[in-house]
Symmetry: C2
Subunit: 261 residues, 2 copies
Amino acid sequence: MSGREKGHVSIIGLGPGAEGAVTPDAQAALSAAQDIIGYGPYVARVPLRPDQERHASDNRVEIERARHALDLAAAGRRVAVVSSGDPGVFAMAAAIFEALEADPARWEGVAITVIPGITAMLAAAARLGAPLGHDFCAINLSDNLKPWELVEKRLRHAARGDFAMAFYNPSSRSRPWQFARTLEILREECGPDTIIVFARNVTRDDERFAITTLGQARPEQADMRSVVIVGSSLTRLIERGADRPIVYTPRWAGMPPEGAA
Amino acid sequence: MSGREKGHVSIIGLGPGAEGAVTPDAQAALSAAQDIIGYGPYVARVPLRPDQERHASDNRVEIERARHALDLAAAGRRVAVVSSGDPGVFAMAAAIFEALEADPARWEGVAITVIPGITAMLAAAARLGAPLGHDFCAINLSDNLKPWELVEKRLRHAARGDFAMAFYNPSSRSRPWQFARTLEILREECGPDTIIVFARNVTRDDERFAITTLGQARPEQADMRSVVIVGSSLTRLIERGADRPIVYTPRWAGMPPEGAA
């Protein structure tokens, strides 16, 4: 069978939630699709035309969803796989490529495109100021697919490198103690005065931020709808009267340039 | 003077270059602005209406540019400060807040909004596959505003934590040896077989990728228009016939889930 008979898979980032953060490229890829595949709540964000088909699934079945998308495309369909945020950051793109790598002959000739989106940590950072304005790490705190020891090792290296950090999937019912342990490690490595922000449902109507310190933070402040940002030793607040303080990390370290704080 | 008489500053991310990656929020903020401020080539990307004024500047004067934007807003103007990519990632947002923190009374009541954009590393990652599909660090390799020793320390911690890494500002004429030293450190810490990608002018007409290994990489492959991505120990290639291979980092570590490579 020739590759020209095959369809394609677009792996699309819908951004954090607000329509104003969905790129024209993402809109165009959605509009070109015959099948829309993804985790239920993400698929529900896409308005459907009568000629489009929706395939919603549970959030624990990424590999099955990936194979389904690739099979539809191999049969000639134009398939959109949707992720919240950016599909390349702890989302569906890696799952699609895992499936592909396990059985490349099955999906030979299927074209695959990734359309980036505004990822949660950068949406949260923008609403706060610029907490990731200098070197930073992004860490998925879930130990569903990796040993917890690796998470701890990465936390310690991120802290010792004085990186700002953004955490995805900080907490869930199936992982009851891990975020408390994360806070313990960070307190030990960074000290109690380091700034931490809990950002929930960023850019949605019920968006909420809690700005505090590692010493004050409580594990129950994070859930599956949160992204958590921990500052470097230089991350600071600018108070702005009745408004939420600005949280930012300067571009410099060592000595501020002339005119900067 | 009441805060209500003041204007505002929108710090806007224009994405990596292609129009299809500029969000509707960014377009709306540009369209609401009276003054467009930024580094010359970024300001040049914005089509101007007759009622809008352009203020282009050199890329070495971020703090002056930040103060200029805040002053215009304090005088009642609606000001857009434009950055390539995301303004919160090694771009203008932190510079604005540095200026503000140094002299908060001067700009009291000026509203400041950050509009996120698709940052270069995530645009490059999407074109390649999903090299940042698991835990990763973003590091600005410029030592203009921080001691080189801090860069080395962060490189070593990122490597020892087995993070994938994205480097901004890898090389420039004023920093002739730093990227060669970066490659040396990474070879030492990660070994010669680790994947490295040089991505230049991502999403533009002259976009170019070079996929190689730390052992084969040469310092002159990076310049100021490049973002460089270095894989973790698990980052791998999927060959796709005549097409560019896919570069991706799986979501798992230790043991692949069923159905994944």
